[in-house]
């Protein structure tokens, strides 16, 4: 045991020496990719399960091949059975990768409001001021941010801004975050319906 301990530390010293001899060739150290079994399996996208040392070794071999070659014959995470493939093909190819269903769902949910701007590459929708018929003395505008590719709540953010008319002046009303959450739910439901209708 002691002999192997000494060998282990000698090898660590040798490693440091070898590394100091090698010149950097453009590595992006900010990625901080851990060289452990679990981290490699997770990064590679292999679907092979772990659970025992033997299974993890099998998954690791597949993972290292995928990492070495940039993926598998059928893509990084194998072949999808279902609609995920179509989702990938409809994602914006330029700019930020935003979820197309969240984008369409957002536009359809607020289609009764005038739009000030809509940027499909950045995933930003900004409406103009809108007043409902039942409350002409109040108006609201909405900012919608679609922040990612996956269709999940975290990738959708709605901020609303409302004002009331007081003595001929529009006065800001305190933001109601519950209403923002309800509007997010409405967009998510619409997005899911669109997605299911296309599957």
């Amino acid at each position: 045991m002691n002999r192997k301990f000494i060998l282990f530390f000698l090898l660590l010293l040798l490693s440091s020496f070898l590394v100091s001899c090698n010149k950097t060739r453009g590595i992006d150290t900010s990625k901080l990719e851990a060289q452990t079994v679990g981290a490699k399996i997770k990064r590679s996208g292999t679907l092979l399960p772990g659970g025992t040392p033997e299974k993890e070794q099998r998954a690791l071999e597949d993972a290292e091949n995928r990492l070495r070659t940039g993926g598998g014959l059928l893509g990084k995470k194998g072949m999808s059975l279902g609609e995920n493939n179509s989702e990938k093909t409809t994602t914006a190819a330029i700019g930020f990768p935003i979820n197309p269903y969240l984008w369409k769902g957002s536009l359809e949910t607020i289609d009764f409001m005038p739009l000030a701007s809509a940027d499909p590459f950045a995933g930003i929708i900004i409406t103009d001021w809108y007043s409902g018929q039942s409350a002409p003395n109040e108006r609201c505008k909405i900012n919608i941010f679609i922040k990612g590719y996956e269709m999940k709540t975290d990738n959708l953010k709605v901020n609303s801004f409302c004002q009331s008319l007081s003595n001929g002046q529009w006065v800001d009303i305190r933001n109601n975050i519950d209403n923002d959450a309800k509007l997010e739910n409405a967009i998510l439901n619409k997005a899911k319906k669109i997605r299911l209708s296309q599957s």
Partner: protein
């Protein structure tokens, strides 16, 4: 009415809660490793070579709820020496990046073992099942299927580059065995593993360590599983070097072992070609269950080198060579010592 969403000062007419999860997705992938493995034993036995093919296929289904929690499960079919159907349990991945694996979760320790570079390819010269030398940094990290493994997100506890796993399994109703010949099974196990990855100048440094403890159903055994491993890798440009060490006690089948394992190696990537070289040295004093301090060590020392060539996405060609020295109870085993080479390809899909 939907178009009256902005009624009055509220944006709030309820338009329905998002209570339905998105449609599930399913996918499959796997790999096959096919080639020729040859052996040249130190004994008087003739050289030999033969075809080698190992294949695995995995199916996975997953669904992400509105809350962002991803639920995944699946199974794998493997033909790698033995025919197997492997279940992958149930994995919940939370929005913060942490995950919880339930059933078939395994040990938290093994996931944090560093991957030490070494010679690739299939092993042409095999070891004997009677040799119980430690065979990897994850030696002795078993767990019962009924358990969990919780993995933190990256940068856990506000520490950049830090991650950890905690696992436990429980199976206290295994029928007890006694005597030296009783095959043992793990009852309860607990494990922890941590990884810290950081930069040092132009290099990325990974340090991984883990500890696994497990008790068994044997009433005779004088040891339980208690193993730890520690290791580190340094990546600078195209060069990776690493070393790892494991030590502890563990039980398998009807024997109890005390042993250690050390591995070291280097890998250099030049375009589509990867050069690997590495050594491993494992040993163990193996004893019949309940017998202490009467055995000399089994050992396996391996020196290997290989070259991998990336042929296409998912396809690697490998040429490998290794030498192996095996000792059984302190005596050279020439039948299982010698050299071997391998030429083949790995295809992931």
């Amino acid at each position: 009415m939907k178009k009256e969403l902005l009624l009055a000062t509220a944006l709030a007419t309820t338009v329905g809660a998002a209570g339905v999860a998105e449609a599930a997705s399913a996918s499959y992938s796997g790999h096959t490793r096919v080639g020729v493995a040859a052996t040249n034993p130190d004994s008087s036995n003739s050289d030999s070579y033969g075809g080698s093919q190992m294949s695995s296929l995995s199916f996975s289904v997953s669904e992400t709820t509105d809350a962002g929690v991803k639920i995944a499960t699946g199974f794998a079919l493997a033909d790698e020496g033995t025919d197997e159907v492997d279940s992958s349990g149930l994995t919940l991945t939370f929005t913060d990046g942490s995950s919880l694996q339930l059933i078939e979760a395994g040990s938290a320790s093994g996931a944090h073992a560093v991957t030490v570079p070494g010679g690739g390819g299939e092993v042409g010269i095999t070891n004997t099942s009677a040799n119980n030398a430690a065979g990897g940094l994850d030696t002795g990290t078993g767990a019962d299927a009924v358990g969990f493994d919780y993995a933190t997100a990256a940068d856990a506890f506000g520490i950049e580059g830090f991650s950890a796993n905690v696992s436990a399994s429980f199976n206290s109703d295994v029928t007890a065995t006694s005597g030296a010949a009783g095959t043992v099974s793990i009852e309860n196990s607990y494990a922890v593993g941590v990884t810290y990855v950081t930069t040092a100048g132009d290099s990325t440094v990974t340090v991984g360590t883990g500890y696994n403890q497990a008790d068994h159903n044997s009433e005779t055994a004088t040891k339980d599983n208690a193993v730890f491993h520690v290791g580190g890798t340094v990546v600078t440009g195209d060069l990776t070097v690493g070393a790892g060490y494991m030590d502890g006690d563990w039980l398998a089948d009807n024997e109890q072992m005390s042993g250690s394992y050390v591995a070291a190696g280097a890998k250099y990537v030049s375009g589509d070609i990867t050069f690997n070289v590495g050594m491993t040295s494992g040993d163990a004093a193996d004893e019949s269950i309940g017998v202490s301090g009467t055995s000399v060590e089994d050992s396996v020392d391996v020196l290997g080198a290989s070259v991998d060539y990336v042929i296409a996405s998912g396809v690697t060609g490998t040429v490998g060579y290794r030498t192996q020295d095996v000792k059984e109870e302190g005596t050279d085993s020439q039948t299982h010592s010698g050299s071997s080479w391998y030429v083949g390809a790995t295809v992931s899909f």
